[in-house]
Symmetry: C2
């Protein structure tokens, strides 16, 4: 059995290039460029709440960082540094080694340096704090939406929720692998987030379900929204094996998606289509922001009145996954 | 029952003065002055490992931040911003309210703004990431020790360990209140840490026991140390009710102290005496750094050869407190 200090040193020390002093002292030291704001976020994953105890440590290492990267992407910030606080029930070196590999796979992919951390004993959980840079004044908040803005969503919201239902034997899929990959190894939309600076008016990352996170964006912008079910990106879910109703439900209320939901002027449609092609990431235009504060409505294309959208975001204290 | 979002908003949102965008978006935004390095640290407290389940939430809120402040103090950095990741078994508003009050008591005392966080459901634990500023190039690391430097320790190392033993009915104290206050509401040495810039050559915060943390400082500086038992600050422990042997043991191996251990030139003795008086914080000169790499020795004043110091720092995986 290795001591806490050995474990940290052995698996979590990597060479640093843009950090003045990384892991190993009381605090890390780095510099932020003078024309930049620092963007800071933190997210915790807890065994039994956010993942099953038998989840692969490699995937978990990746996801621990990825969920935080998604938050920075939603500000249009470039990720740079992270700390990792790891609570472990035992000093299982195989587990720790695989977790560290997954973590550094993700960190390397997005240019993040691990600058510090803490290892404690207790029920399995991990908290990352992630720091990025964004040119001063150019961050994309939730508050900048304008009435008449188009609403856009990236990628495949709902796919991770399908993956979870599949694990729980609540649905049988034609293509479970894709849904399980979305659940276990989400791809944070870092490049898209940065590219949307100067284009998106308001942005949020969809981690608690599209409907719930749309409500947050509308509240912060002081607006309402009108979605159109016919414009929701249901095709990937239906291709994976969901029926229409399930696809619609998981797109709107899924959770664990880590897609970007943003608003932009209708004049930006061509620019966004070009950007989507360039980055290989589909963007779906799903509705628009309205001046009717707090009214979040869903039209179904039948010609009838739009109905209020059931905002059922994922809330750890209101609805546990099991 | 309140939802996760309500809880966060209700108790953890305070006005910000030196933060551009605080709690409530995907990430916080703030600026670091151009001539400053950012100093970053993170520490987790886990129920059952670092504190008893019935610990007062107010004290726990204070301590959660204080243990991180101690790390920044040990770099000579000025604390400025924090994030808080809180994992709770239930949405108990009374507990959360008291915890938040303790947290903000400490934050207000040291000029820290809470800029973001995450609330999750699971076994009780809290992780703070704390960010401070230090003039570029002036941080005090563990690595700057010089042979012949005096070794100094602040305050009353060992007192918190006595408090823990008292709670566990392993010792009866004359003055338990002082020891329990040291355990439950440690006072981070923030002002002293900053004042030591330009004076201390190497510094570390003593959270894992003086002997163990001295070993870290020596290892990073590539040196050894010679302590003198007669110079250890035993008086406060003896006044609290410990006998000589217990006082010596807890000073050297206590843990949970959050005092500053640092080295400085013998030429700085007068300056340090003045500083100690000015800040009302005793500094004890307990020995010196030696050129004998890795040799950490303890003399007892008997005139015999110094003996190797038993380095028994607190390690979560090697020795649980219960």
């Amino acid at each position: 059995m290795f001591s806490e200090f050995d474990l940290v040193r052995r698996h979590f020390t990597r060479p640093a290039t843009h950090t003045d002093l990384a892991v190993g002292d009381d605090a890390a030291l780095f510099r932020v460029a003078p024309d930049m704001q620092l963007a800071v976020t933190t997210d915790t994953l807890v065994a039994g709440t956010h993942f099953f105890y038998d989840t692969s440590p490699h995937g978990l290492g990746w996801k621990t960082l990825a969920v935080n990267l998604s938050d920075l992407a939603a500000m249009g910030a470039a990720p740079r540094w992270a700390t990792l606080a790891l609570t472990l029930p035992a000093a299982d070196e195989g587990w720790i080694s695989a977790f560290a590999e997954g973590f550094f796979d993700c960190a390397g992919r997005y240019g993040v340096e691990l600058v510090g951390g803490d290892t404690t004993r207790g029920p399995l959980a991990m908290t990352v704090a992630l720091f990025g840079e964004v040119p001063a004044g150019q961050a994309i908040t939730r508050a900048g939406g304008q009435p008449g803005d188009d609403l856009w969503i990236s990628g495949c919201p709902g796919l991770a929720a399908l993956g979870l239902m599949c694990l729980q034997n609540r649905v049988r899929l034609i293509d479970a692998d894709l849904a399980l990959a979305a659940l276990h190894r989400p791809v944070p939309r870092v490049e898209m987030g940065e590219a949307l600076r100067g284009i998106a008016h308001a942005m949020i990352d969809v981690s608690d379900g599209l409907a719930g996170d749309l409500a947050h964006l509308c509240e912060c912008s002081g607006l309402g929204a009108l979605l159109d079910t016919r414009m929701l990106p249901l095709a990937p879910l239906i291709a994976a094996g969901a029926d229409d109703a399930l696809a619609c439900r998981t797109v709107l209320a899924g959770g664990d998606d880590y897609e970007l939901l943003f608003s932009a002027s209708p004049a930006a449609r061509d620019t966004l289509a070009t950007l989507a092609r360039k980055l290989g990431l589909p963007l779906a235009r799903i509705g628009q922001l309205t001046a009717e504060t707090g009214a979040i409505l869903l039209a179904d294309g039948s010609g009838g009145s739009p109905r209020p959208l059931d905002v059922c975001g994922y809330d750890h204290f209101a609805s546990l996954p099991r």
